[in-house]
Symmetry: none
DNA sequence: TATGAATGAGGCTTCATTCAT
DNA sequence: GATGAATGAAGCCTCATTCAT
């Protein structure tokens, strides 16, 4: 792993554990096993560091979901697949998930970066738009739907991370997806 | 308004705008129109200040909801009332809402305070528990249900704060409550 | 002496001895016998500190010269008086003199401050202007004359500070003033 | 131009614009179009770099003046020639001139280098010494005379660099040299 | 000779908190 | 209770310099 990656990994862990402002850059370099200056050789500022972490996670998420969005035709099947992938990704990358949860809406991520990464999810957004027009989803603004879906995922993820065994429980999964789907679906 | 209240009001505004760590106590005193030392007469530390603000907001929320929880008998009616009250409170107290949203889950609120304020919502929690047992709500753990409800409210609030006029739209409200209700309801 | 003055005095000494950039603020506070923070309580930045020192010296110089400029009528007498006062001030305030010499033209003094202090010497500038128009001084631009006079004073001061005893030598003083005067005078 | 020369040229420009301490070696390498390490192949330290620049300028000045000092016999003619050469050199090499002005007396130039370059002007110094003994110049210490002459040149140069067109004005030149000459001459 | 990633000491400044008035 | 000057620990970042390639 390159020193740059060591820094990003260490920072990710410390940020979610202590928060951005409570994590000195000195602690990051130390945890990464590099010198103070090295951090600033790779990232101009502490803000650029967190921005870069955010960007990388968002893009890796997008890349993971891409096949599911492209492959299927039946709407509910797509949503089910995406839903599964998201929650499994959370269970496998709890730190990255927590990072998005904690910093995704904070002012620490620059507007610029946020915009650039938002585009990455336009495919999914279009899907929702179509579902609304087709009458499959409730007649609500797309933004509301997107918000409701992601907040549902957040709540589910939070719970699952503390009860990982439940993910093996087929009935639990069925009920949880049912809740997810009926939050928006008309039938 | 007492100096103590001036400080709390100023702090609330600055905290949600800049974040806790990016808000110097000096800025709070200045915005409140008091001297640096005065803040520390009323609150031993900066943490005690944010804790106190949190507590006050939480309790005011509880007091507001109490009559609705006590009065009615029909479940869906209670949930509708509570849902309405919560969103109207958000629209009338956007700063307080944002404060809860930003700091409610952060490590800045002491475990102690969080516990004490949690109890305040045990009535509502019991209601949900009964709904599950009665089969009105999906057979999911109570904690999951509570999480899904509050995250639904968060998403709705966020959207409404940027589109206040929609609250007057009866159809929108109906659809949004429908979404809220069917997130958990079995029918 | 107030802590503020202690800081200014200590800074003056260190700045001329080591230069601005080679003088850590920590060294200033230490020499002044105050805490690090105290320096920044009185001066927002290190630059504001040097600016303030510059301003104070310039204004004290102006105040010292004011009577000489106001009192006399005969031109050469005024110039002689001012010349004497300047050199005696230098001998009595060698640190302040060196400060002006070293930082007067440096980029460390803000344009703003430089302007504000320049006005302080407009009286003397007018005197020179009149002398040129009257034919007492060579027909050169005022700015050139001012520059030549002050550079003459600088050279003289530098030498005198290393040979203080010569100031008591009447013949030396006569010759040096002669040089000063004939740099600009036509006769 | 060799990389070594590129570095020296870039450094000269940046030093006079921003000052020595405000010019990172990284900025120099960048402006010179070379890598960080390259600078330190040619100059052991940043100080050695500025020292070398100083030395080169001083020696080029000496070489330029040498013929004028050697050729003539009449004193005033020599001084006039030297005076002309100095100011024309300034007009043609404003950056080098500013460099000498800014760093010539600063502590950045090592005592060693300063001594070595001083010797270069001993010829001129002797000339002044003779003029004093001959009664052509005022009976002042040689050092004072040297100081007055060079400060006169500084003041003149500073002005000329901002009013280059005046150098074509014969009357202006006559008056300015008159001032220069009568600063020291007895008649 | 040339490169540029890596180093780590050190500088400026911020800020929660104290305390004498 | 109220004030605000004073404190000093700690944070972010800069930068001259080294060294493996």
């Amino acid at each position: 792993m390159s020193k740059r990656d060591q820094i990003m990994t260490a920072a990710l862990g410390l940020f979610i554990e202590n928060g951005f402002d409570k994590t000195p850059t000195s602690a990051i370099s130390k945890a990464a096993g590099v010198a103070t200056g090295t951090l600033f050789h790779h990232f101009k500022t502490k803000e650029e560091l967190i921005d870069t972490i955010y960007e990388e996670i968002k893009f890796s998420l997008r890349d993971m979901l891409a096949p599911a969005l492209a492959g299927q035709t039946e709407l509910k099947a797509i949503f089910h697949d995406v839903w599964i992938m998201m929650l499994e990704w959370t269970l496998e990358n709890p730190e990255k998930y927590r990072f998005l949860h904690q910093f995704g809406e904070s002012a620490l991520i620059s507007a610029n970066t946020r915009e650039r990464t938002q585009e990455a999810f336009s495919d999914f957004c279009n899907l929702v738009e179509n579902a609304i027009e087709a009458g499959t989803f409730r007649p609500l603004p797309v933004d509301v739907c997107m918000g409701l879906m992601s907040s549902h995922l957040y709540a589910s993820s939070n719970y699952l991370l503390e009860h990982k065994e439940l993910w093996q429980d087929a009935e639990f999964r069925k009920q949880l997806f049912g809740s997810y789907w009926h939050t928006l679906a008309t039938a």
